[in-house]
Amino acid sequence: MMDWSPIFISMKTASVSILITFFVGLIVAWGIVKMKNDTIKIVLDGIFTLPIVLPPTVVGFFLLYIFGVRGPIGSFFIDFFAFKIAFSWPATVIAAVVMSFPLMYRSSRGAFEQVDSNLLDAGRTLGMSEWKIFWKILFANALPGIISGGILAYARGLGEFGATAMLAGNIADQTRTLPMAVYSEVAAGNMGDAFNYVIFIVVIAFIAIFIMDFVSLRKEKQWK
């Protein structure tokens, strides 16, 4: 009998993490685009991009350092909420958010920068509020890029392995996500079960890319 729990855990982790990554990535990208000080901008950009450049285990190492039992945030949670973050389900979300964040951040930043700044100024001279300008002009015109960033980030979160292994471990029914399950089944010699998980991941990844292309193509066609 195939164990379905990795599928549920992965779907849950990927869904919760994309919600966080999407909005935080969007806001951070907007903040960076608006920033006037170039030095700070470059430093922050480096920090936000680092997770895709570093080996996932290295990111996991840092996460463990921060969220581990003796880490600043980890010990805070133990002291005040009596909750151990490391090797719990939320740890899979933290790992997925950190690893997928750069994709969301960079795609939306690029998409924002592509929007003609005259459009924003036009909105201002026409009396539109900054809030309305952000959603109706900037966000709307950057949407294809933002959506593809979101879907890439979702797929990245779903496939996260290295940092998750370091911070959340590979506990069956708790932190064993799909990529983790593939690894475990292969290690145990159950190629058949591993194959089922692999098929599942490939199908989801393909659907994600299909949606991404479909949405951005449709939007562009409509405006052109």
Binding site: D116, N118, L119, D121, A122, G123, R124, T125, L126, G127, M128, S129, K136, I137, A140, N141, L143, Q222, W223, K224
Partner: protein, 344 residues
């Protein structure tokens, strides 16, 4: 009730300091200058898109509104200035239809009537549901103008409105815009590097060069008496030469090697003279301001002959489309009245 738009601002830019000071009391003001002279920056300061370092911008209609005042730390947001800005590329929102673009500056209540009124006024019927990219350049400009006028601005700012158009469309849209500005009872400022445009549209004119105002006044006066070399050049004077003053009424051109008589007394500050390319005419050998035309060359245009004399002077003569022959007279003259005296 005196209406006016007062602008007196300074701003440090990379290449130079922008310093403009003018007061607009009627109709349309033109700001003419080469690219990068600070004219767009001036316009953006009035709109509130760019902040000047110092100065005052204020509008007086029925009441007085201060847009910007560095001494009193007033800097009204663009949203509060009630200024319409026509961008060079029109800045239509690509994700909105024509209708949505026109409506986007309006509050909900008055919406639909006003939008359909503007759609009709700018001949955009049938295009309401189209997106900007599906429109021609002329239609895009009309949508941009409809969007501005729907908003009901006190001031309209036009930033090089015709620079991205082919010649035919330009002629047509200029006419439309002239009519529009005549109906509009607020102020407008047109920024351009095209002297024909300011001549057609603007009652008053400012000429900007490297951030400084080098000429200012009613448009016709500035064109007729440019006074300065740079102004003469920007208002389209083709022939400009350094001169040596001989006496109160005579100068020697150092570039063309000819002596000229002027109709006005020449003040000691005069360093150059200008002659417009249309101001030459055929002459006899013994008249005033005459010179020979040996070794000149001619170029045929549809409605004009362009003659370049051996000493570098340009002469333009009108012609009909079916005339293809032109004999350059042996001698040419310039009426002393048409010698434009210029200072550096």
């Amino acid at each position: 009730m005196d209406k006016s738009l007062k602008v007196n601002i300074q701003k440090k830019l990379n290449e130079f300091d922008l310093k403009v000071d003018f007061e607009l009391k009627r109709g349309c003001l033109g700001i003419l200058g080469p690219s990068g002279c600070g004219k767009s920056m001036t316009l953006k300061s009035v709109a509130g898109i760019v902040d000047p370092d110092k100065g005052i911008i204020s509008l007086k209609t029925n009441e007085e509104t201060t847009y910007f005042d560095s001494d009193n730390k007033i800097n009204l947001k663009p949203q509060k200035r009630n200024v319409g800005y026509l961008f060079q590329n029109y800045a239509l929102f690509p994700n909105m239809t024509v209708e949505e673009n026109v409506a986007c500056g309006l509050s909900k209540d008055s919406d639909e009537k006003r939008v359909s009124e503007m759609i009709r006024r700018f001949h955009l019927e049938g295009l309401e549901k189209r997106y900007p990219r599906q429109l021609s350049g002329g239609q895009q400009q009309r949508v941009a103008l409809a969007r501005i006028l729907a908003y009901g601005p006190d001031v309209i700012l036009l930033d090089e409105p015709f620079s991205a158009m082919d010649a035919f469309l330009k002629e047509q849209l200029r006419l439309e815009l002239v009519n529009l500005l005549e109906d509009f009872d607020g102020f407008s400022i047109l920024v351009t590097h095209d002297r024909d445009e300011v001549f057609q549209f603007c009652d008053d004119l400012i000429i900007l060069d490297k951030g400084k105002v080098i000429a200012q006044g009613p448009t016709h006066e500035v064109f007729e008496n440019p006074g300065k070399v740079q102004v003469a050049r920007l208002t389209g004077c083709k022939n400009i030469s350094r001169v040596e003053i001989i006496d109160d009424y005579h100068v020697k051109s150092l570039d063309w090697g000819v002596e000229f008589e002027a109709s006005e007394k020449i003040s000691p500050g005069i360093t150059h003279i200008g002659i417009r390319a249309h101001d030459f005419s055929a002459a006899g050998k013994d008249e005033v301001n005459v010179f020979g035309t040996n070794d000149s060359s001619k170029l045929e245009k549809p409605f004009e002959w362009e003659i370049t004399l051996a000493n570098g002077l340009w002469w333009k003569v009108d012609k009909k489309i079916h005339e293809h022959d032109f004999v350059i007279p042996e001698y040419l003259k310039v009426d002393p009245e048409n010698i434009i005296l210029l200072e550096e």
